[in-house]
């Protein structure tokens, strides 16, 4: 079974998105490099594109985002490999119908797509535990993967950098697709945050 792993950049941007809008649901996409993988090699999600915050379950902007980011992926030899969502309520960790639909759509194009739910209760300044649950598609259902499987390529690095970013309030400058639609000059690839993360590595 192919395992999905996240790089520090992907994990951190995803959690920064959740941290920026603590009172809203947020969602976004995960992208991986589009290359032939050997058997048993994990799918590595190298980046994350934060999409929306607030009311998530509406189709048109999601379709635009998926199409636009798909085009961007093709230019950069990436492929959309996953979808993440953080629910509005802290105790709500299960994916809803909308999350499953979007993830299924992504899976049509990339069979090993993952659906990642952020566990809001695990987000803390010290980042003690990885704050996500990974769901995989089996027999038309999304099943939660064993939590003991490492979700990050390098958890101790991700933990250290995530903590530093939260201290710095880097989430204030994170741009999601909603911010981009509000002002087209806002760049959803977040180059400044990517630089900060690289700098901290």
């Amino acid at each position: 079974m192919t395992v999905i792993k996240l790089t520090t950049q992907a994990y951190c941007k995803m959690l920064l998105h959740a941290a920026k809008y603590p009172h809203c649901a947020v969602n976004g996409l995960l992208v991986a490099e589009n290359q032939k993988r050997k058997d048993g090699q994990p799918v590595l999600c190298v980046d994350c594109v934060p999409l929306f915050h607030g009311t998530l379950a509406l189709a048109p902007m999601m379709e635009i985002a998926l199409t636009l980011i798909d085009t961007w992926c093709k230019e950069n030899k990436y492929v959309i490999a996953g979808y993440y969502q953080a629910n509005e309520r802290i105790k709500e960790t299960r994916p809803n119908q909308f999350a499953e639909k979007v993830a299924a759509r992504i899976a049509e194009n990339f069979s090993e797509a993952a659906l990642i739910m952020v566990d809001n209760s695990k987000i803390s300044m010290s980042c003690y535990d990885p704050a996500i649950s990974v769901f995989e598609h089996h027999d038309n259902k999304w099943k939660c993967r064993d939590a003991s499987i490492d979700c990050c390529e390098d958890w101790s690095e991700a933990q250290k950098i995530m903590s530093a970013l939260l201290e710095d309030r880097s989430y204030d400058s994170l741009i999601d697709f909603d911010n981009h639609l509000d002002d087209l000059r806002n760049d959803w690839t977040n180059p400044e945050i990517n630089k900060s993360i690289l700098h901290l590595c």
Partner: protein, 297 residues
């Protein structure tokens, strides 16, 4: 710890004015409100005059958002002293209990207010907020509908209802709630645009046509609404490609889609003027629009 006034080189009057702006425009930037408000209260309380009470209220709510129970309690204490027996202050005390997840006690507090004053809308809405926080969406929706039967003009409540329905994937009822909002606010482009999004999500050719019309209306009300422009493009493209549409309808929609595409390109060009980063966005948009180009069949 550097003070806000030092860090950003602002006077206390500017801080007070900023708080007012955030208050009037209903911003939820709680961390900033706490930072600015706390300093204003601690260093400049005497200069604020009667403004201080509404600032205490604003800072208290922001403090609850940031888990700053210490600050919230301080603000609440001052307000209780000044406005003894006030329902407005009692509601704030209830909100503090909500923040501490002591929902039963908060519920009781709001019921006490309602016993005294059955028309107190704030207390009723907090009770519904508790249901929402507890994940009891169906009950929250039911209570909110009952509330709206009595208080038909409460726009904030209609919008909340629309969002609750969207989260439950009940798009038909969400559309109905947004229709109420559009009737009373015909010039609000955001309601038009959200209504169009709901119709689009419902799907089917009739809903798509309605969706396109409302995206167009939103654009007419505010020609810089990018969501409306993208929505117009998507809905027109889908209708143009639909086997259920007549030849004339297809032809018209292909034209609308083409117009929208050129406007989108233009908007991106204007935005990308000069910056290197947005150029990659522009290229992606151009390619996306090209690849989606609908040829009339």
């Amino acid at each position: 710890m550097a003070s806000v006034s030092d860090m950003y080189d602002v006077t206390w009057e500017e801080m007070r004015d900023k708080l007012r702006k955030w208050r009037e425009e209903n911003y939820r930037n709680s961390e900033q409100i706490v930072e600015v408000g706390e300093e204003l209260i601690q260093e400049h309380a005497s200069k604020l005059g009667d403004d201080i009470w509404i600032i205490y209220e604003q800072v208290m709510i922001a403090a609850l958002d940031c888990s700053r129970d210490d600050l919230a309690t301080t603000c609440l204490h001052e307000l209780k002293k000044q406005f003894q027996g006030s329902h407005r202050v009692k509601r704030l005390a209830g909100m503090r209990l909500e923040a501490l997840e002591r929902y039963d006690e908060a519920f009781k507090m709001y019921n006490d207010i309602l016993q005294d004053d059955s028309t107190n809308t704030a207390a009723r809405k907090r009770k519904i907020a508790i249901l929402k926080a507890q994940g009891k969406s169906t009950e929250a929706i039911r209570e909110l509908n009952e509330y709206l039967e009595q208080f038909v003009g409460d726009q904030e409540a209609w919008h909340e209802l629309a969002e609750l329905y969207i989260n439950e994937h009940d798009y038909a009822k969400a559309a109905f709630s947004l229709e109420e909002l559009m009737m009373t606010n015909p010039h609000n482009h955001l309601y038009c645009e959200q209504y169009a999004e709901v119709k689009y999500t419902q799907g089917g050719i009739e809903n798509l046509e309605l969706s396109r019309k409302y995206f167009a209306q939103a654009l007419k009300l505010n020609n810089r609404n990018m969501r409306a422009l993208f929505g117009l493009y998507m809905s027109a493209s889908h209708i143009g490609a639909s086997p259920k549409a007549s030849a004339k309808v297809k032809k018209d929609n292909v034209k609308y889609a083409a117009w929208a595409a050129s406007q989108i390109n233009r908007a991106y060009q204007l935005a990308g003027h000069g910056t290197k980063e947005t150029k990659c966005s522009l290229k992606a948009v151009e390619e996306m629009l090209e690849s989606m180009q609908i040829m009339p069949s």
